[in-house]
Amino acid sequence: MGALGFDEFYESHFDRVGRALVLAGAEREVARDATQEAFTRALRRWRKVGEMDRPDGWVYVVAMNQLRDHWRRAERRAAEIDETALDNTSAVATRLSLREAIATLPPRQRQAVVLRYFADLPLADVADAMGCATGTVKATLHHALQSMRVDLEDLEDDDADR
């Protein structure tokens, strides 16, 4: 990853990070700002960030942190934002059961699910992005998968492939 230039990294990940934030419940403009800010910071530290195994993991962590911070500052509950964001994205939905399940997840569970299964982040990065311990992430994902009636994956084993 170290050889990759920042510009290429940006081009190949900007869109995906933005979408992940929307999936996690962010309004579009907020998602764009948080993504832009996270990449700006990555650029400033690119010598270090670029050498990480998952530079995009670092960007997700920073972007999610900003999102949380935005929510805190706006004194809005993430749950309210959730509804509007998913309404937009599910307008063309036809196959609703799993979608509904995702849509009705509590905000924290949904963030964990998006970071883990859409951004494909390792558990430790998900924990950083959510500002909690790895064990908490496991528990959160566990609850989320249960309520969506998705078969539980072995989260313990996940750490081994890192």
């Binding site: 510009d7 940006y10 081009e11 869109d15 995906r16 990070v17 933005g18 979408r19 992940a20 929307v22 999936l23 579009r28 998602a31 764009r32 993504t35 832009q36 800010e37 990449f39 700006t40 910071r41 650029l43 400033r44 530290r45 270090k48 960030v49 050498e51 990480m52 195994d53 998952r54 670092w58 962590v61 920073v62 942190n65 900003q66 949380r68 911070d69 500052r73 994205t89 599910s90 307008a91 063309v92 799993l98 979608r99 995702i102 699910v113 998006v114 299964y117 859409f118 430790a124 924990a127 950083d128 992005a129 500002g131 790895t134 998968l145 969506m148 998705v150 078969d151 994956e153 890192r162």
Partner: protein
């Protein structure tokens, strides 16, 4: 239902979201501006990065090289900018400073040397009871001390020194300088190859600084108006450039009152304080 179905559903949900068009050139401009302006980063956001980076260190030392942080402590003579003084100097604080992306380097200031710290300040008073660290920030500016405060939370006191140390020199205009004079000095500073960055302080800015500096003398503040204070330019030089050469260059310009060196090292013998004054200041705090 399988995890793969969940992944698939998330992907198809994501596909329905209109694409985010990134503009990498705009991002480069933004990063450059940030570097020059220094502190344009929103306080809270920078703090979150710092905290999360520390968190990365906690969770996973192997992967997160950024957080494994080299020892950033240097000897006091290698400190050229002090943005904040952090007290006390404990291993926990040291580890936090090493790990923080906000911190470029820092030096230990022994309590016994606090009288040499220039110029005297409340930071020096805080050193009355224990050793501290003089910290040079990555992006010094108005928010740096606040960022650091949140990062260290209850582990240490952070004293903002940015008004005092954050530039190599300050070029003061005469109070009566015309806007044309101010403009041409700014133009000259901006074009100077020895200079890394220039920050213009308007009369209103000067008044804000003045209020902070003389917070303990409300009468003086009350009797002073912004219009009675000079505009100035705070200048940071590229590393290795001669401060005195730059000072000389601007001292003679039209409208310039003086160009003064703000900082010549942590313990600058030529700027020794008057001990009785500093001692008095500290007993109040």
């Amino acid at each position: 239902m399988q995890i793969d179905e969940l992944r698939g559903e998330l992907t198809s949900l994501a596909d329905e979201i209109p694409p985010f068009e990134g503009d990498v050139r705009q991002l480069h401009r933004r990063a450059r501006r940030r570097r020059v302006v220094g502190s344009a980063v929103a306080v809270a956001l920078a703090v979150v990065v710092a905290v999360s980076t520390v968190a990365i260190a906690r969770h996973d030392n192997g992967r997160a090289r950024i957080a494994a942080g080299p020892d950033k402590e240097v000897s006091p003579d290698q400190i050229t900018h002090v943005d904040a003084i952090v007290v006390p100097a404990t291993p926990v604080v040291k580890a936090a400073l090493d790990a923080s992306p906000l911190v470029t380097k820092y030096a230990r200031v022994p309590q016994s040397d606090r009288w040499k710290l220039q110029p005297p300040s409340d930071g020096l008073c805080a050193l009355g009871t224990s050793d501290g660290y003089a910290v040079d920030g990555v992006a010094p500016g108005a928010n740096f001390a606040e960022d650091l405060t949140r990062l260290l939370r209850d582990q240490a006191r952070v004293l903002d020194q940015s008004d005092r140390f954050s530039a190599d020199l300050e070029v003061f205009m005469k109070v009566t300088a015309s806007s044309h004079d101010v403009q041409s000095v700014q133009t000259a500073l901006n074009a100077d190859p020895d200079i890394l960055s220039v920050r213009h302080l308007s009369k209103a800015d000067a008044y804000a600084v003045f209020k902070r500096e003389f917070a303990d003398q409300p009468d003086l503040v009350k009797s002073t108006k912004a219009s009675g204070l000079p505009e100035s330019f705070r200048v940071i030089l590229k590393s290795g450039r001669s401060v005195s050469a730059v000072v000389l260059r601007y001292q003679g310009l039209a409208g310039v009152d003086s160009a003064i060196t703000l900082f010549r090292g942590l313990f600058d013998p030529s700027l020794l304080p008057i001990p009785s004054q500093t001692a008095t200041a500290c007993t109040n705090g």
